[in-house]
Symmetry: C2
Subunit: 145 residues, 2 copies
DNA sequence: CCATATTTTTAGATTAAATCTAATTATAGA
DNA sequence: TCTATAATTAGATTTAATCTAAAAATATGG
């Protein structure tokens, strides 16, 4: 539904990418990357576990958490927690960006950092290092092609 | 440390305020309001419980949650969950506003809705109903008086 | 290739925040 | 006062995530 990023990596490509980031490319990690870097859109740990249960011989819940945290440390993944849900979601979009929540479907869509401008008025007290933004509303259906 | 809002309400004033919002003014609720509406700044449920343990004969943890949720339903309180912490915080500022997190102290400061302008570019897909913003950074020390 | 050190994975226990349950207590209204 | 309704309570439960320590896999050095 959303536009693909670096989607569609072969296990070999994933493996090299992990190595370049100093992460041992184990079978479990490659499988999880297949999902979080290629297939999924803002998955939760539970989403990953369910995917693994279908697509991997046997994987512990702890491995899911170990792996996403390793990927985060390696700079391959980011985690977000939003006010409307208690589950952490993982995002392979590691560039500066914000989020839009479609309130009818619950879908979260990335918004490029360049596409949002935040202006702070009447405030000399703050040195702002970064901003986290969640816009909420409805998604407009595109017409035609 | 932060500037007071409607701080300093007597038990009678709190009681009337609860009644006006269709909430039975019980001893527990009045006590909790004393704290969340008058004394505290973005308290967590745990903060409320700890305060109650010092200032109220005996209060169950369930009552803390029951009460804040009742106050939220009644429109007297809002809840916020931020990405940097897993605890829900409660805020008696029910007007449109955003937040600033002082990363050195962990303090959260309200920013009036009018003081932030959010501009969305290159995006025709979204009908934005509301925005949640958390700015992070450092608080500048005010000089002199 | 082998021996061994290091790293990863695992099942199950644990933690932490919040909610639920069902019994007790308080309150409101006739 | 009597009775219905609402609120409070202790403790159990749920949920997301982490921790533990044993087992399995992998890397390294000769």
């Amino acid at each position: 539904m959303a536009e693909p990023r670096n989607r569609c990596l072969s296990p070999q490509e994933i493996s090299r990418r992990l190595e370049r980031h100093g992460v041992q490319p184990t079978a479990q990690r490659i499988a999880i990357c297949q999902y979080v870097l290629c297939e999924a859109e803002h998955p939760t740990a539970d989403d990953i576990k369910q995917w693994a249960d279908k697509n991997f011989p046997k994987m512990s819940r702890a491995t899911v958490y170990n792996t996403v945290n390793t990927l985060i440390e390696a700079g391959l993944l980011r985690e977000f927690r939003f006010p409307h849900d208690s589950k952490t979601v993982y995002d392979d979009n590691i560039s500066d960006h914000y989020h839009f929540l479609d309130e009818t479907t619950g879908e979260i869509i990335d918004i490029d950092g360049k596409d949002i401008e935040i202006k702070l008025r009447n405030e000399q007290r703050f040195i702002v290092k970064n901003a986290e933004v969640l816009l909420r509303g409805k998604l407009v259906k595109k017409k035609g092609v």
